[in-house]
């Protein structure tokens, strides 16, 4: 069986992808604070929710990326 090598470069890439998604989730939090006229303290009090949403986004994006890779491999 071929060993799977996870390079530091690929770890960094995944971290940056998640970071972008975390920023997106934070922006979603800002949007909901403005939309529902709630307290700005939710920027930090709802960090748990934001973190959870960013992970959900990461999983969804991950599924899409796996599908795209599969399509690419299939075309080759």
């Amino acid at each position: 069986m071929k060993p799977i090598i996870i390079t530091s470069k690929s770890i960094k890439k995944e971290f940056y992808i998640w970071l972008v998604l975390f920023v997106c989730a934070t922006l979603l939090n800002v949007y909901s604070i403005v939309k529902y006229h709630t307290n700005w303290s939710e920027l930090y009090s709802q960090l748990g929710y934001v973190l959870a949403i960013s992970i959900v986004f990461y999983v969804v994006i991950g599924v899409v990326r796996v599908l795209m890779q599969s399509v690419k491999l299939f075309k080759k």
Partner: protein, 428 residues
């Protein structure tokens, strides 16, 4: 007794720690309970007590007393009951704690023979007045179970004897010592529920109050099943409602001006005389209504006292407060909810134009964090402290007195089918 006993010190410490010290200061009985004011007796002097009436409630009170009798230096000197099996039950409880109190069948012999400071009376209701008066006149402090007495006149007689003898008379309304009620009442009195328009209370059970007779001997019927006969009890009114009218009066800090009601024997048609199904409305001078019902053939809703204010609701029995306009959920959670509803909710096509106004589905907040207190123990411990001080706050007795008077008036209103107000001679 499924909760761990926490004593007076734990109780007061907890109130202070949870910010409920205001409740402590504002409750005259609790203030006295917690203070170290000059006592007639030393703080650790032995208090010699006896229990008169050792049936189910008497034994329950005895169990509570035994949990702190050593710590509080209480000596249970004597037990009294004219029904020997009950007396033996209480003796057994004492023996388990290696105590050996004297047993009596006649309380008059007991109070004459024994050197006592106080008695606890847990006899059938119709005996309360005579025994209480005899004990007070002998110079004993008295803790008497609720409801105070069987008639308006007996209730007043007990109160007048307390005034004449200057001895403590405390009635067993344990909610007066319950932290949930103390904190909740403070919020009500501070106006945090807005204007109270209505108080609703109910106590629903699905059980037969009839108890089996020893060897099916009918000569015991009235002694064992005294709760079922009007001569001895007003049934649901004195056994259950008296607790809840006391809560209503306490919440509103006043007594009603009128009562009307109805009642029937709807289900337990077995020769009993007291109603198994009652509904009453008490009105207060500011227009507030206390709406009450009780039955013994359905237990779905159990018991509750609901204080309905313009800005909030309290349900004491479940330790809950509900705001009329609860704080909104955080924005991000609202957004997620909206997205979920957008995806999963069905679109109504030609649906009903009227939506039923069903109860608000909101779980509310706890009134206090911990309910790990036994209010019956706390009230007995308070009574012990009062005995040592030689006096108790009058407010406690007045709560019991007014609850008893208005319970009796409720019974008369049901029987006469009339709206009644308090006769002047019973106003204290």
């Amino acid at each position: 007794m499924d909760k761990k006993y926490q004593n007076r010190r734990d109780f007061i410490k907890h109130l202070a720690m949870t910010g409920s010290a205001v409740a402590l200061a504002a409750s005259p009985w609790l203030g006295a309970f917690g203070s170290s004011a000059q006592s007639v007796r030393g703080a650790n002097d032995m208090v010699r007590m006896a229990i008169i009436g050792t049936g189910s409630r008497g034994c329950e009170l005895l169990r509570h007393l035994l949990t702190f009798s050593v710590a509080q230096n209480i000596r249970i000197v004597a037990l009294c009951d004219n029904y020997n099996p009950h007396l033996l039950d209480a003796v057994k409880l004492c023996k388990e704690k290696e105590l050996n109190p004297q047993s009596y069948a006649d309380y008059r012999v007991m109070i004459e023979k024994e050197q006592l400071d106080a008695v606890i009376i847990a006899t059938p209701l119709y005996c309360h007045a005579q025994i209480t008066v005899d004990c007070l006149q002998t110079g004993l402090h008295v803790f008497c179970e609720k409801s105070m007495a069987r008639t308006l006149e007996q209730t007043k007689w007990m109160y007048d004897t307390h005034i004449a003898t200057n001895k403590i008379l405390q009635i067993g309304h344990q909610r007066l010592f319950n932290p949930v009620y103390l904190e909740g009442m403070q919020r009500i009195h501070d106006g945090k529920l807005g204007t109270i328009g209505q108080i609703r209370a109910y106590w629903h059970r699905n059980n037969n109050w009839r108890r089996s007779l020893p060897n099916n001997d009918l000569s015991y019927e009235r002694q064992i099943n005294w709760r079922l006969y009007k001569e001895y009890s007003a049934g649901l009114l004195t056994e259950l409602m008296s607790h809840q009218i006391q809560v209503a009066n306490w919440a509103l800090q006043k007594t009603p001006v009128s009562v009307m009601g109805t009642g029937s024997i709807r289900y337990w048609n077995d020769g009993r005389e007291v109603n198994d199904n009652i509904a009453l409305i008490y009105s207060y001078d500011d227009g507030t209504q206390f709406v009450y019902d009780s039955m013994t053939s359905n237990k779905k809703y159990g018991l509750e006292e609901q204080i309905l204010g313009s800005t909030g609701t309290i349900e004491f029995e479940v330790n809950k407060q509900y705001l009329e306009t609860p704080a909104a959920a955080p924005g991000i959670q609202q957004l997620i909810n909206d997205v979920e509803h957008g995806i999963f909710d069905k679109l109504p096509i030609g649906g009903a134009s009227w939506v039923p106004e069903t109860a608000v589905n909101y779980k509310g907040e706890n009134i206090v964090d911990s309910t790990n207190y036994m209010d019956t123990s706390l009230q007995l411990e308070a009574f012990t402290q009062f005995v040592r001080k030689g006096s108790a706050p009058e407010k406690i007795l007045k709560e019991g007195y007014n609850a008893s008077i208005w319970t009796m008036l409720g019974e008369i209103a049901i029987e006469k089918g009339e709206k009644l107000s308090m006769p002047k001679e019973f106003i204290i």
